[in-house]
C-alpha cells in the first residue's frame, strides 16, 4: 500500500473519529481566527469611538483588557488544537504496535501516519481559516445592520496568515510526538494495554458503595488517560481564565469605572449658572461619549459671573446642604520639566519636556468640593497655594511624571507656575481639565466672582419641592440664570461605559463554545475507549444511567478542577493587574458568580451530549 493510499483509507475507515477531529479542528481554528479578527475590529472600533471621546485613562484600561483577552484567545486556540491532534494520534498507538509486530519498517510506519496527520491538520487549518473569515464578515455585517458601532476595515490578512502558520506548526508538533514515541518502542509495549493505559497495582481491597464504585471507575479512567486529561485540564483552565477576566473583570471594571465617573460628576448634584454656561457645562460633560468639537466660549464674560445676591440667597436656603462655588475658564498651559534627585547616587535626572496645550481650568474651594475623584497623588488643600490637580488625559498627553512636575498657566496678569499634586480621572472635557484653588485663580485672573455653583440638597427634604423653590428664587434674581440636575448627563456617561464593557464581555462566549466542543471531544474519547467496559457493566446489571454517571463524574472532575484554577487566576489577574482599585460589592460578587456558574453549567450540559446519546444505545450495539 502506498504512503498516500494508506492514510486516506485509514481516515475513511474511521469516519466518525476523522470527521469529529476535522470538524473540531475547523471550529477551533475558525472560532479563534474569528475572535482575533473581531477583537481587532472591536479594539479598532473602540479606539475609533474613543477618538475625541473617553479619557485617556479609560482608553488605556480598555486596550489593556482587549490585548489580554486577545492573547488568551490565541493560547486557548493553540491548546484546543494540540489537544485534539494528540487525541487523534493517541488512538493510533495500538495500530502502530500491530504494524510493527507484523514487520513493517519504522520509516514506513512514520510516513503513513505523518501523511495522515498532515492531511487532517491541513484540512482543519485551511477550512478553519476560510470559515473564520466568513464568520467575521457575516457577523460584522449583521452587527452593522443592527446599528452597532463596528469597524468595517478590511480583514487583517497578517492575522489570518499568522494563525494558519502557527496553528499548523503547533498541530504538527503535537501530532508528531505520539507517532514518534510509539515508533521508538517495542511492538509488544505498543500493543500492551498497560503501556497506553498506565495501570498500576493498588494496595488494599476496600468494599465501595454503589456510588463509590462509579466514582472509582471514573477516577481511575481519568488517571489512566493522564496525558489527555492534563491537556483538557490546561485547555479548560485557560478558557475559564478568559471567561473570568472577561466576565468578572468586565463587571468589576464596568462598576469601578462607572463609580469613578459617578463620583467625578457627582450624584444628585444641582448646577446653578447662567443658561449659556449651563449649556456649555453639559457639552463639556458629554464630550466623554460624543465626539463633538466645542466652539470658542468666553467663560469669563461679565454676564456669566454670578451675583452676590444669588450666592446670599443660596446660603440662606436651609434645604441646601453644601455649596461648591467654582470659576471655570479655558486657558493655555505648558508642561514644565522636573528633576528627580537620587539620594543614593547623588545624580539629578531631568524629566519631561515643555509640551503646550489648552485645558479647562476650574477654580474650586478645596474643602467644599462636592465631587470625589479617583486620584493618583492628593487633592488640593485649603491652606496651600499654587497647586494643581490635572485630568488623566492631560497627564498622559503632556506630562512624563506629572507628580514631579509643574505646569505653567498662561494668561491673567502674569503667567503662574502650579505644582502638580494629583492626577484625577474626570470625564469633564474628556479629562482635559486642571483643578486649582479658587482664591489662586481669582488672584491670577483678577476676577473676584464665580461663574458656576454646584449644590447638594439635604436628603431629608422633598427633592422636587426644594428644586422648584431654588428655581423660583434663582429666576427671581436673574431670569437668565438656570438650575439643572446632573443626573441625566451622569446616566448617559454611565450607559456609554456600560456599552463599551458589555462588548468585551461578549467575546468569551465563543471560546466557551469551543471549549465545550473540546470537552465533548474528550467525552467521546472516554466513550470510545471505555465502550467495551461500559457494555460489560451493563451486561452485568448496570443501568444506562450508571454509565452516564461514570462519564458525568469524569466530566465534573475535569471541569471543576479547571474551573477552580481558572477562576482563581482570572480573579487575581483582574484585581491585581487589569483594574486598579477595584470596586467590589456583594452585588458584584453575586452577579459574577451567577455568570460564571451559568458558564460552568452550560459547558457541563453541552459536554454530556455524547454520553446521553451513548446511554440510549441498545446494549448489543455497544458490545459489538
Amino acid at each position: 500500500m502506498s504512503e498516500t493510499f494508506f492514510p486516506i483509507n485509514d481516515l475513511l475507515r474511521r469516519k466518525l473519529q476523522t470527521s469529529l477531529i476535522v470538524v473540531s479542528l475547523i471550529l477551533s481554528v475558525a472560532s479563534t481566527l474569528f475572535l482575533l479578527l473581531f477583537c481587532d475590529r472591536i479594539g479598532f472600533g473602540i479606539s475609533l469611538m474613543a477618538e475625541g471621546m473617553l479619557t485617556v485613562g479609560f482608553s488605556v484600561a480598555l486596550s489593556r483588557f482587549i490585548i489580554f483577552i486577545g492573547i488568551l484567545i490565541f493560547v486557548i486556540g493553540a491548546l484546543l488544537i494540540s489537544f485534539m491532534v494528540f487525541v487523534m494520534m493517541s488512538q493510533r498507538v495500538r495500530d502502530i504496535g500491530l504494524m510493527k509486530a507484523a514487520g513493517c519498517p519504522n520509516d514506513l510506519i512514520f510516513g503513513y501516519f505523518m501523511n495522515e496527520l498532515f492531511i487532517v491538520i491541513f484540512l482543519g487549518c485551511f477550512l478553519g481559516v476560510v470559515l473564520g473569515i466568513v464568520a467575521d464578515f457575516a457577523f460584522t455585517n449583521i452587527l452593522i445592520s443592527l446599528n452597532f458601532q463596528i469597524s468595517q476595515k478590511p480583514t487583517n490578512l497578517w492575522i489570518v496568515l499568522l494563525i494558519f502558520a502557527l496553528y499548523f506548526i503547533i498541530a504538527l508538533i503535537f501530532g508528531t510526538k505520539p507517532i514518534l514515541d510509539t515508533t521508538k518502542i517495542e511492538p509488544a509495549k505498543a500493543l500492551s494495554p498497560t503501556y497506553y493505559l498506565g495501570i498500576s497495582k493498588e494496595s488494599g481491597f476496600k468494599i465501595v458503595s454503589k456510588s463509590g464504585l462509579t466514582i472509582k471507575i471514573a477516577m481511575r479512567s481519568l488517571f489512566r488517560r493522564r496525558l489527555a486529561t492534563i491537556r483538557i485540564f490546561l485547555c479548560l483552565t485557560t478558557v475559564f481564565i478568559l471567561v473570568t477576566v472577561a466576565v468578572a473583570g468586565g463587571i468589576i471594571a464596568d462598576q469601578t469605572t462607572k463609580s469613578w465617573v459617578e463620583k467625578a460628576i457627582g450624584k444628585d448634584v444641582v448646577v446653578i449658572a447662567h443658561q449659556e454656561i449651563c449649556s456649555q457645562y453639559k457639552l463639556l460633560l458629554s464630550k466623554f461619549y460624543e465626539a463633538e468639537k466645542l466652539s470658542q466660549f468666553n467663560y469669563t464674560d461679565n454676564k456669566y459671573l454670578l451675583s452676590d445676591e444669588l450666592l446670599n440667597q443660596l446660603n440662606q436656603t436651609s434645604e441646601i446642604m453644601r455649596i461648591d462655588m467654582r470659576l471655570i475658564l479655558e486657558a493655555s498651559i505648558r508642561e514644565m520639566p522636573g528633576y528627580i534627585f537620587n539620594s543614593e547616587t547623588g545624580v539629578t535626572t531631568s524629566i519631561g519636556d515643555s509640551h503646550n496645550g489648552v485645558s479647562l481650568i476650574v477654580g474650586v474651594e478645596p474643602e467644599k468640593v462636592l465631587n470625589e475623584w479617583f486620584l493618583d497623588g492628593e487633592f488640593l488643600k485649603e491652606n496651600k497655594s499654587w497647586e494643581a490637580v490635572i485630568g488623566d488625559s492631560i497627564a498622559h498627553k503632556m506630562f512624563t511624571l506629572p507628580l514631579k512636575q509643574k505646569l505653567l498657566l498662561f494668561g491673567g496678569q502674569s503667567n503662574r507656575y502650579f505644582d502638580v499634586v494629583g492626577v484625577c480621572v474626570d470625564p469633564i472635557n474628556n479629562g482635559n481639565v486642571t483643578y486649582v484653588p479658587l482664591k489662586d485663580l481669582q488672584n491670577f485672573t483678577g476676577i473676584t466672582k464665580v461663574n458656576i455653583v454646584l449644590v447638594k440638597i439635604e436628603a431629608a427634604n422633598d427633592r422636587t419641592e426644594v428644586l422648584n423653590k431654588i428655581k423660583t428664587n434663582v429666576k427671581a434674581v436673574n431670569p437668565n440664570y438656570e438650575v439643572f440636575e446632573l443626573n441625566e448627563i451622569l446616566a448617559e456617561n454611565i450607559s456609554f461605559l456600560g456599552y463599551v464593557w458589555s462588548t468585551i464581555m461578549f467575546l468569551p462566549a465563543f471560546s466557551l463554545a469551543s471549549a465545550s466542543l473540546c470537552l465533548m471531544c474528550y467525552i467521546t474519547l472516554i466513550l470510545t475507549e471505555q465502550r467495551q467496559e461500559f457494555g460489560v457493566l451493563r451486561a452485568l446489571g448496570a443501568k444506562p444511567k450508571t454509565v452516564l454517571k461514570i462519564v458525568s463524574w469524569q466530566s465534573i472532575v475535569v471541569l471543576l478542577s479547571s474551573y477552580a484554577l481558572g477562576i482563581a487566576f482570572g480573579v487575581i489577574i483582574t484585581l491585581l493587574i487589569l483594574v486598579p482599585e477595584p470596586l467590589v460589592t456583594s452585588f458584584t460578587i453575586i452577579e459574577i458568580a451567577w455568570w460564571l456558574l451559568m458558564a460552568l453549567v452550560a459547558t457541563f450540559i453541552f459536554s454530556l451530549y455524547p454520553a446521553i446519546k451513548f446511554s440510549k444505545k441498545p446494549l448489543l450495539e455497544i458490545m459489538t
Binding site: T194, I199, E202, K210, G535, A539, L540, K543
Partner: protein, 229 residues
C-alpha cells in the same frame, strides 16, 4: 438432581439483523426448553447463531419475533431497567473475551455485581474470598486484569458471574481463547457448578464441555437442527 421446574422456554424465536440493505436471519423459529439444574450446551459452527441465542436468553438482546420466557418473564417485552436488574440478580454471564473491567482490581471486579445488588459489606468481602478460593486465584486479588494471563482472567470472569449466586449461568465459548491445559481448569469449575445443581447454558465447541451436557442444542444457519438429550 435437576427438578422439573422450567428455567428457559423459547418458542418460535427469530432474530433478524439488518446490515445496510442486507437482512441476516441469525435465528429461525428456534424452540427449546431448559429445566432447572440442567447443563445445556449450544453448539454449532461459527455464525450459526449461538451467541445471539445466548444474548437473548440473558436479556442482552431481544428477539425480532417469538417468545423467550426466562424464570417466567417474557424478556422480549421488558424495558432496559427491568433487564438490567434481571441480569444483575438472575443471570451470571461469562464472555469469550473475559471482559473484565480494566480499571478495577480482580477483587473489585468480583465485588461490583454484589454492590449493585446492595449486598452488605461483610457479605461481599466473604463472598469475594470464597469465589477466589473456588477459582484458585486468592493471590491475585489486588491485581488489575491487564496483569493476569488469559486463563486467569477467564477464571475471574466465572467468579464474577457467580458473585450474586445467580440461578442461571450463561457462558459464551468460555474456553474459546484458551489452550487445552488452561481449559481444563475452566471445565473443572463448570463441572463443580453442575454438581452443585446450577442451571448452566454454554455456547461451545469444546469436547470436554460437551461431555458435561444434559442437553445439546445444535444450531446450523440459525436453525435448531437436533436437540440432543
Amino acid at each position: 438432581m435437576p427438578t422439573e421446574k422450567m428455567v428457559v422456554l423459547a418458542s418460535n424465536l427469530c432474530k433478524t439483523y439488518e446490515v445496510g440493505d442486507l437482512k441476516v436471519e441469525a435465528l429461525k423459529n428456534v424452540n427449546f426448553k431448559v429445566k432447572n439444574g440442567e447443563f445445556t450446551v449450544i453448539s454449532g459452527p461459527s455464525g450459526s447463531g449461538k451467541t445471539t441465542l445466548l444474548n437473548i436468553i440473558g436479556g442482552i438482546d431481544k428477539p425480532t419475533s417469538g417468545r423467550i420466557i426466562v424464570f417466567g418473564k417474557n424478556l422480549g417485552v421488558k424495558d432496559e431497567d427491568f433487564l438490567a436488574t434481571f441480569r444483575c440478580r438472575k443471570v451470571g454471564f461469562v464472555f469469550q473475551s473475559y471482559n473484565l473491567v480494566s480499571t478495577l482490581t480482580v477483587a473489585e471486579n468480583i465485588a461490583f455485581p454484589m454492590e449493585w445488588n446492595r449486598k452488605p459489606e461483610n457479605h461481599i468481602k466473604k463472598r469475594v474470598e470464597e469465589l477466589l478460593e473456588i477459582v484458585g486465584l486468592q493471590h491475585r486479588a489486588e491485581h488489575f486484569p491487564s496483569q493476569l494471563s488469559g486463563g486467569e482472567q477467564q477464571r475471574i470472569a466465572i467468579a464474577r458471574a457467580l458473585a450474586n449466586d445467580p440461578p442461571l449461568l450463561l457462558a459464551d465459548e468460555p474456553t474459546g481463547n484458551l489452550d487445552a491445559k488452561t481449559s481444563i481448569k475452566i471445565v473443572e469449575i463448570l463441572k463443580m457448578l453442575k454438581e452443585n445443581g446450577k442451571t448452566i447454558i454454554v455456547a461451545t465447541h469444546d469436547e470436554q464441555i460437551l461431555r458435561l451436557a444434559n442437553q445439546i442444542i445444535y444450531l446450523e444457519e440459525g436453525k435448531l437442527v437436533k436437540p440432543v438429550e
